[in-house]
């Protein structure tokens, strides 16, 4: 697929960079003139994916999170990748309210939010190798009830 525009950033897997990731994506997609709701949906989905990489992928230990973003016409494509421990059971991890870290007061809603706020979410993971979350959202589409 040929994109009209693309960007990629890599950053350390630390909590401070959750806001950085949201800000970078927001700035990148600004040219598509998203409404407040669309901007918030994308920022929230990015925040969830990056947080997952930091606290689940890397267990809050050292690592690098890579984020790629592409634009094709009015559609935004986002990929968040880590080389952390990976997900053993993706279907279980994506179940609403499931959390792999009950000790951290996590709500278990990360993937549910990504799926609700974006048009499409795909997750690929290999134990010991890492996880790739790929998300798509079209800008300017009426919100579904």
């Amino acid at each position: 697929m040929e994109y009209d525009n693309e960007m990629a950033v890599s950053f350390k897997a630390i909590g401070e960079n959750e806001a950085f990731a949201r800000t970078v994506v927001s700035a990148f997609i600004l040219g598509l003139d998203p409404c407040v709701r669309e901007m918030n949906d994308i920022k929230t989905a990015v925040s969830e994916a990056v947080t997952n990489s930091i606290i689940h992928g890397y267990d809050n230990k050292e690592g690098i999170v890579r984020m790629w973003c592409g634009i094709c016409q009015a559609t935004v494509y986002i990929e968040v990748t880590d080389e952390g421990k990976g997900i053993e059971d993706i279907a279980l991890a994506m179940e609403p309210l499931y959390t792999g870290r009950p000790d951290m007061e996590r709500s278990g809603l990360g993937f549910t939010i990504m799926q609700s706020f974006m048009d499409d979410v795909k997750v690929e993971s290999a134990v010991g190798k890492g996880t790739r979350v790929f998300m798509v959202k079209e800008i300017g589409k009426p919100e579904q009830e």
Partner: protein, 111 residues
Amino acid sequence: MDISFERHKNCLVVSVLGDIDHHFADLAKTAIDNEAVKTGVKNIVFDLSHVDFMDSAGIGMIIGRYKYTLNKGGLTAVAGLSENLKKIMMLSGLYRIIKIYDSVEDAAKAV
């Protein structure tokens, strides 16, 4: 971390300024718990009127404080939600156990 506390009778009002993500929530949880223990209150009201962004970490933070107040025989409430925050609250189902008020004054009176 932009968080401040105010005590209204038996209620701790927690005012947050800025984004609530995992990084913020991790720090805020400890600060709120310490303040709740110090003041001995049984109710907690979150003033989120100055929060533009909250992800699922905020839901986890509120649920944690809900459990705390429940153990004390009290309540947790939230006030001043933007449309984005309302959307997260609805999606999480949190509105079923935590009351949402337009203003902190309304929430503090009700709890």
